[in-house]
Each structure stands twice: as structure tokens, then as C-alpha cells.
């Protein structure tokens, strides 16, 4: 049987996947760095365990941001017009909001850094709070950017923004854990703090992974097509890298009562979860573009 159909392919490639990953990691790294100033003595002062991490955390999230911005700009067909989403702001496009929040987030990091240099607690607190909200908005807007595509059913799903926030929590925790571990600062309190966040993020990711399975298998024709594409073209990445290496193994590691808080195990679990966070997004972004193209 013959069929001839031309394709114009929606080209969101690895730049976008890397950007989504790095901006998520940068955001959560900042949230961790700002946690002592934002939360202070709340929750028994456990956030204070991040104090030694403050300067490094700010530095790392600034570096990640300095990679993200240019990467996103270079991905445009017209890089010199990168300010247009702000200049010609279109309120119904999450991309416009993201372009606005990204530099503001950068300013908050700088403000927080300035405050910490001068010992200005008030400035640190305010830039910490606003910066953390903007940091949350980063993975949120990347998820929304997919979700608003009402015509692509794999993306048009209210769990996607939530999933992206949770995945950024995993990758941010990985950055913090690795740095702490390498500097020998992963003491009991810090391990407790990171363990809690990693446990929550992995458990929620696991639940959302299962939800995705149900939704795609019990869904419309297009959802079933997405499921087929995921299993055929991205089978190894989805089941092997995302589910097994990126969700299940680290979840078992952090859930194990005896070893879960061990610095080495915790760091390993965090790194694995970051690998999963990357490939989960990658599969969703790519497979979402491939549905419907035969119609």
C-alpha cells in the first residue's frame, strides 16, 4: 500500500532538552542556597544546614544560568531578536513570561549575593523569597510551555508543569549533594535535609510516571499513538534510563532505612535521579513532537 505525505517537522532538539534540564537545576540550587535566609528557624531550623552552601550555591546557579541564557538564545532562528518576547510581550504565551522571569531571576541571584557580601539580612530575605518564587516559575513555565499546546495530547496535560517542577527538585538536589559530598560537608543534618527532598521528589515522580502510563494506555487514539512512539523509539530511554535508573533504583536507595541517609548512597541516588529527570523530559519533549505528524 502506497502513501505519500510531506512532513514539516517541529524542530525542538537537544538544545531545548538541555535548557529545560539546566534551568530546573539552576532554580532548585538557588532555592537551596537561599533556604537558610528564607526559612530561618522555621521547621526547627533544618534549612540552616545549607548555610555553608550559600555562596557556592549562588555561584553554581549563576553559572548554570549563564549557560542556559545563551543556549536558549542560540537555539532561536534569529538570536539577535532575543528580547522580542519581552518587547512585544504576548500575555497568552508562557514563553513570553519565561523570557521576562529569567532575567529577573538572574537579578535576584545577584541581589542575594550582594546582600550576603554586605551582610544585609533584609535584602537577602527579600531577594531570597522573590528569587525562590521566580526559581519555581522556571520549571513551571517550561512545563506550561508544553501544556498550552492544546492540540498535542501528550503535552496538554496539567501534570506536566508539576512534573517539571518535581524533576527540577531532583536535579537541584543532585547538584547540592554532589557539591556537599565533594567538599565533605554532607553531615547528618544536611543529609537529613537533602534526603527528605529527594525522597519526596522521587516518590512524586514515581506516582506521575504511573499516572502517565495509565493516561496514555486508557486515552484517545493520539495518546495511544504517543505510547507506541515512546515504546518503539524511546523504549530504552523511557523504561531503562528514566524508570529503572532514574526513578526506581534511587527510590529504593533513599527508601532503604539503614543506608538511605549515608552520604555516598544519597549522593549516588541524587545523581541517578538527575539522569532520570533529564531523560524523562527528553522523551516527553521528543515524543510529543512526533505524534500527529502522519496526518
Amino acid at each position: 500500500m502506497f502513501e505519500y505525505m510531506s512532513y514539516n517537522i517541529a524542530p525542538w532538539g537537544h538544545e531545548i532538552v538541555i535548557y529545560f534540564f539546566l534551568i530546573g537545576a539552576a532554580s532548585m540550587t538557588f532555592v537551596y542556597a537561599a533556604a537558610p535566609a528564607v526559612f530561618g528557624n522555621v521547621f526547627g531550623g533544618i534549612a540552616k544546614s545549607m548555610e555553608p552552601f550559600q555562596k557556592t550555591g549562588l555561584f553554581v546557579s549563576l553559572i548554570l544560568l549563564a549557560i542556559c541564557g545563551p543556549l536558549l538564545i542560540m537555539d532561536l532562528g534569529q538570536p539577535s531578536r532575543f528580547l522580542y518576547p519581552i518587547l512585544y510581550f504576548h500575555w497568552t504565551s508562557p514563553l513570553s513570561w519565561g523570557s521576562l522571569f529569567l532575567p529577573l531571576f538572574g537579578l535576584c541571584i545577584l541581589g542575594f549575593y550582594y546582600g550576603s557580601m554586605k551582610g544585609n539580612q533584609k535584602l537577602m530575605r527579600w531577594t531570597g523569597i522573590i528569587g525562590s518564587l521566580l526559581a519555581l516559575s522556571m520549571p513551571l513555565y517550561t512545563g506550561l510551555d508544553l501544556m498550552v499546546h492544546q492540540t498535542r495530547e501528550l503535552w496538554s496535560n496539567p501534570t506536566i508543569p508539576l512534573l517539571f517542577v518535581i524533576l527540577s527538585m531532583s536535579s537541584g538536589t543532585a547538584v547540592v549533594a554532589v557539591i556537599h559530598f565533594l567538599r565533605g560537608q554532607l553531615d547528618e543534618q544536611a543529609a537529613e535535609f537533602l534526603h527528605a527532598f529527594l525522597y519526596i521528589s522521587l516518590a512524586v515522580t514515581f506516582a506521575l510516571f504511573l499516572a502517565e502510563w495509565v493516561v496514555l494506555n486508557f486515552g484517545t487514539g493520539e495518546k495511544q499513538q504517543a505510547w507506541e512512539i515512546i515504546n518503539q523509539q524511546f523504549g530504552f530511554k523511557y523504561w531503562g534510563v528514566t524508570f529503572l535508573i532514574g526513578i526506581l533504583v534511587p527510590l529504593v536507595l533513599v527508601a532503604a532505612p539503614k543506608i538511605g541517609r549515608n552520604p555516598k548512597v544519597l549522593t549516588l541516588a541524587a545523581v541517578l535521579s538527575a539522569v532520570g529527570a533529564f531523560s524523562f523530559r527528553e522523551v516527553l519533549i521528543y515524543a510529543g513532537q512526533l505524534t500527529q505528524i502522519n496526518f
Partner: protein, 240 residues
């Protein structure tokens, strides 16, 4: 009421125009003259298309049939490509055209992802004759011709008179009469886009194909060649 459009939907609004196309599939002979006319009108580069004619064979010998289905931008009355564009580079004209401002487009490709009809493409940079490149492009319903009272290039050249163009808000127009008298369908009405290309008598095999992969990938390999050729300095990595 749809949000984020620069002009309200005009279908059925008195005093407004709503340009639309009717494609009578009983008359299409698959000559692809419309594709050629369109390529010539806009110097559309190899590897991308503003309009195409999809070909599909059904059945088994000796009971077979070849179907043709011209495809183009549906100039939706509620276009998701417009709503999602971060710079309002793509916009809705009050007469129903969905158009592109090249000087504003940043080629973020959000609109390509938003369109459920695969109607948009990116123009590569470094083109030989027409210098517009590195931006997203699409069918314009030949607004430059329509504004001068001419028919779109693909309609003008259609030998079978399969493509018919006109104002759907004008009850005396040919498109209005055809839509009134015939059973017509639009593509993917469930997506809420309110497409304005109406098909007369399409086969189910042509319209309900979401789940079935095409049997021949001839055209797909053209696309792949296009994206591979244009990678790197000229372009971005793409999903392929």
C-alpha cells in the same frame, strides 16, 4: 471567547469577511499543480511545504483506490499558533487570514508545535534568491492576491477546480453555497481550532489517520534530508 488572538473570530459576524477554502475531493486528480504554483509564488525551498497533496492507496488488487487530499494551513478561526507566539509575530487578520510578520519572528518554533495540522515550517538561512530566512513561514491564503481581487495561486491553477476560495460570510459566494449544500468536514474539529478549509467527501482513511503510520516514508526521508542538510550553523538540531 478565545484568548490571545489579535482579531476576534469572524465566522458569521455580520459586516466582516471570513475567507475560507472548500476542497472538493471528488474533483482532485492529484496533479500537484497547486503545490508547484505555491512553490513558484513564494520560492518555497526544497524540503518544506506550504501546501501539499497527500496521496493514499487503499484496498488490495483488484479492489483498490487512490485518494488525494490537498493540505494547507486551515486559517483557523481560533488558531493555537497565534495564541502561543511570544512576540505576536504570527497574528490573525480580521478577515480571517492567519499571517506571519517575518521581521518580528524569532523562530522559537512554538507555533509549529502548536499547529495540529503540520502547516508551518522554518525557512533555512542563506537562501539564494529570496532572502527571507531563519524565520517560520506558512500558507497565507495568498492574502496579497486576495486583497487585489485575485484568487490564491493554488486555486487559480487547480485544473480539476477542486479548490474553491471565497468569503464564507457572503451567502452568495461559491464557498458558502458549497458548504450549505454539501456534506463537508474540517480536519480535527475536536482540537477546538475552528479550521476554515472545508473538504467535500473525504474518505475516512484520509481524515482518521492519527493512529496509523504511513506505509511509505518517501516524503519523510525528504524532510529528514532537509533537516540534516540544514543543521549546525544554518539551523538548530531538530528532533530528528
Amino acid at each position: 471567547m478565545p484568548v490571545g488572538l489579535q482579531a476576534e473570530p469572524s465566522l458569521g459576524v455580520p459586516g466582516k469577511k471570513r475567507w475560507a477554502m472548500v476542497v472538493d475531493l471528488r474533483r482532485c486528480i492529484g496533479c500537484m499543480a497547486c503545490v508547484c504554483a505555491d512553490k513558484a509564488e513564494y520560492d518555497v525551498p526544497l524540503g518544506v511545504w506550504r501546501t501539499i497533496v497527500k496521496v493514499k492507496d487503499t484496498g488490495h488488487y483488484p479492489n483498490t483506490k487512490r485518494h488525494f487530499m490537498p493540505r494547507l494551513c486551515n486559517h483557523c478561526d481560533n488558531p493555537p499558533c497565534v495564541r502561543n507566539c511570544p512576540t505576536e509575530a504570527t497574528y490573525k487578520h480580521e478577515d480571517g487570514f492567519v499571517l506571519q510578520r517575518y521581521e518580528r519572528c524569532i523562530a522559537c518554533r512554538t507555533c509549529i508545535a502548536a499547529c495540529p495540522y503540520n502547516a508551518r515550517h522554518v525557512l533555512p538561512k542563506n537562501r539564494d534568491r529570496v532572502k527571507i530566512g531563519g524565520v517560520v513561514d506558512k500558507c497565507t491564503f495568498c492574502s496579497h492576491r486576495v486583497e487585489k481581487g485575485l484568487a490564491p495561486a493554488c486555486v487559480q491553477t487547480c485544473l480539476g477546480r477542486s479548490r474553491i476560495f471565497g468569503d464564507l460570510n457572503d451567502p452568495d459566494s461559491e464557498v458558502s453555497k458549497l458548504v450549505a449544500r454539501h456534506k463537508t468536514v474540517v480536519l480535527k474539529p475536536e482540537k477546538g481550532t475552528r479550521p476554515q478549509v472545508y473538504y467535500i467527501k473525504p474518505e475516512r482513511a484520509q481524515t482518521e489517520q492519527v493512529f496509523a503510520a504511513p506505509q511509505s516514508y518517501a516524503a519523510r526521508s525528504d524532510s529528514e534530508a532537509f533537516y540534516k542538510h540544514n543543521r549546525g550553523s544554518k539551523f538548530f538540531s531538530g528532533v530528528l
